[in-house]
């Protein structure tokens, strides 16, 4: 029921302009999945993206439009692995949309791939425990490709009329993606074995793919300021290890990374982390182009 009666005219216009079959409506929690849906479905679906690259996806501000978008969605594409645990459950509950609460309408990208840092035993003494592993899987192109394949199958399942289109677009995307992966790997060959310090552990998949090594983190526990003992050992470690760069995400506060950079002479680098994180990251391809060129820039 609408709070305001929609003028009959508008309603009529909407009915007339509505296509014979309504488009599949997709709600993506993060820009990288919105971009992936765009690659796989083109104009066959309507995509809304819930968050931007310049915000911390662990927490978001509630807007009425967000609930309205989830309410009308046929499919939600999110990361899962507790990344959105602070808001997605409430959003789904408020939307009252059973289609996307579970089952075919709910697609969790992290559940499609093997996650890293998954605790073997659920021991709360091990620090900030994510039982499903590190959720930031979008920074590994191999995992992105796996997600693309399962997501494509899900789109075809929900919208069989366009299954052939999805299949054809997946084939096209896979071809371009594999070619890009070969190019990125070649460009990044010199980065192999290099060491980095991070702001927060958002990049483990990138290091895993490029064969780089993370030697420390400025903020090991999110939201909890580091202790002085931790920082002094981090300075010593950063200096003595021939560290390539101090890496932070575009949305994170630059001060800690710059602080460490000043004391160690190691350059601080801001990486996009997702689509839209910098000017070059207009899509998934741009995201990796930009990430690798920024890391190479630090190596010069």
């Amino acid at each position: 029921m609408k709070l305001f009666a929609i003028p009959a005219l508008l309603l009529a216009a909407g009915l007339v302009s509505m296509p014979a079959q309504a488009k599949l409506k997709v709600f993506a929690c993060e820009p990288e999945w919105g971009s992936l849906v765009g690659e796989l479905a083109g104009d066959k679906v309507d995509v809304d993206v819930g968050t931007s690259a310049l915000q911390d996806v662990h927490q978001i501000e509630a807007k009425p439009s967000l609930i309205a978008k989830v309410r009308s969605a046929d499919l939600i594409v999110c990361t899962g692995a507790e990344l959105e645990v602070g808001w997605l459950p409430q959003l789904i509950r408020q939307s009252g949309n059973a289609k996307i609460a579970s089952g075919a309408g709910s697609f969790m990208a992290a559940a499609q791939v093997k996650t890293l840092e998954k605790p073997s035993a659920l021991d709360r003494a091990n620090g900030d425990v994510h039982p499903d592993g590190n959720p930031h899987i979008q920074m590994d192109p191999r995992r992105v490709l796996i997600v693309a394949r399962t997501l494509d199958a899900r789109l075809a399942q929900l919208d069989p009329a366009n299954a052939a289109v999805y299949q054809q677009r997946l084939a096209d995307f896979s071809k371009r993606w594999l070619a890009a992966m070969t190019r990125w790997k070649a460009q990044a060959a010199s980065l192999k074995g290099r060491k980095v310090v991070v702001h927060h552990i958002s990049w483990v998949y990138l290091w895993d793919w490029l064969g780089m090594q993370q030697i420390g983190a400025l903020e090991p526990k999110p939201g909890v300021p580091p202790t002085s003992a931790h920082l002094s050992s981090l300075i010593a470690l950063t200096k003595s290890s021939g560290t390539l760069a101090i890496v932070r995400a575009a949305y994170q506060d630059p001060k800690p990374a710059e602080w460490l950079s000043e004391r160690t002479g190691v350059p601080a680098v801001s990486l996009p982390l997702t689509v839209g994180g910098d000017a070059q990251s207009k899509d998934l391809f741009g995201l990796f182009d930009s990430t690798i060129s920024k890391l190479l820039g630090a190596a010069k």
Partner: protein
């Protein structure tokens, strides 16, 4: 600016609107007292202490979901209220700075506790901070019952709440409301309607304050849907906007706080 009529949906805005009205029901009369006592930051301090109580409870092994949290928050808030009621009697002239000090101690105490908390628990700090749009009708029932009980109690005492009673009632009301609508809205609901009507007296003042509060919540929720902006933050602004607009009414402005009520507003802390 995008106009988004999709969000103008009673089933989306309805629970939030009811939550706002429930919060207003107790906060408008309490806000009047807070203002006359000159202790406007007490709500932030109480909310912070309730949060500290939850963190402490987790240390003692109480599950972070469920009823234990509410008990821990309420006990901590009441303990804080007891302490503040005592300092109010002991050093009434320093009550406001003492409240401020307690606020920063509770906030940073939480940080210190969490620093060595094996679970890290970034969300623990925010456990007691609600967002008005996430409210469900099921959550509203206990809050409505508590508010009704508090209102009956205030009515029985004819609005005159001495030391410990005031602080105790206040602590319970704040602990419940912060979880529904968040600290910014709690602060605004307490202070803004009371401030806007500071020049008025008696029942008329209460009615005007309720009207300003309700207008602020309803217009804020609708604007946030149409303009696609975060609801909580926008309601704070529409509350202030409605309070300013109300000053155009001669009945509200008649004896302006700058003249008549200046003493009553600031005397308690002077």
């Amino acid at each position: 600016m995008t106009f988004d009529m999709e969000g103008l949906d009673i089933s989306i805005l309805g629970p939030a609107c009811v939550a706002g009205l429930i919060v207003l029901s107790t906060h408008v009369p309490l806000g009047k007292q807070v203002l006359s006592r000159g202790i406007i930051f007490i709500d932030l301090a109480i909310a912070q202490i309730a949060g500290l109580g939850v963190i402490l409870a987790q240390y003692l092994g109480i599950d972070e979901h469920g009823f234990g949290v509410q008990i821990a928050a309420a006990v901590a808030a009441l303990a804080g209220a007891g302490l503040l009621s005592w300092t109010d009697r002991r050093w009434p002239e320093y009550q406001e700075p003492l409240i401020g000090t307690l606020f920063v101690l509770a906030a940073t105490g939480g940080l210190l506790l969490l620093a060595n908390n094996p679970q890290g628990g970034e969300h623990l700090k925010d456990l007691l901070v609600g967002q008005i749009l996430w409210v469900s009708y099921a959550q509203l029932i206990p809050a409505a019952l508590l508010s009704a009980a508090l209102l009956v109690f205030m009515w029985l005492r004819r609005g005159r709440l001495a030391g410990l009673w005031f602080y105790g009632l206040f602590a319970l009301a704040i602990t419940a409301s912060v979880q529904l609508v968040g600290v910014y809205l709690v602060f605004a609901s307490l202070i803004v309607p009371a401030l806007a009507t500071a020049g008025m007296r008696g029942r008329g003042r209460l009615a005007a304050a309720y009207a300003i509060g309700a207008a602020g919540y309803v217009s804020g929720l609708m604007l946030s849907a149409v303009l696609d902006l975060p609801s909580g933050a926008l309601i704070v602004w529409t509350l202030a906007g409605c309070a300013l607009l109300a000053q155009l009414l001669p009945a509200v402005r008649r004896s302006h706080p700058a003249q008549a009520a200046a003493e009553t507003v600031f005397d308690a802390s002077a």
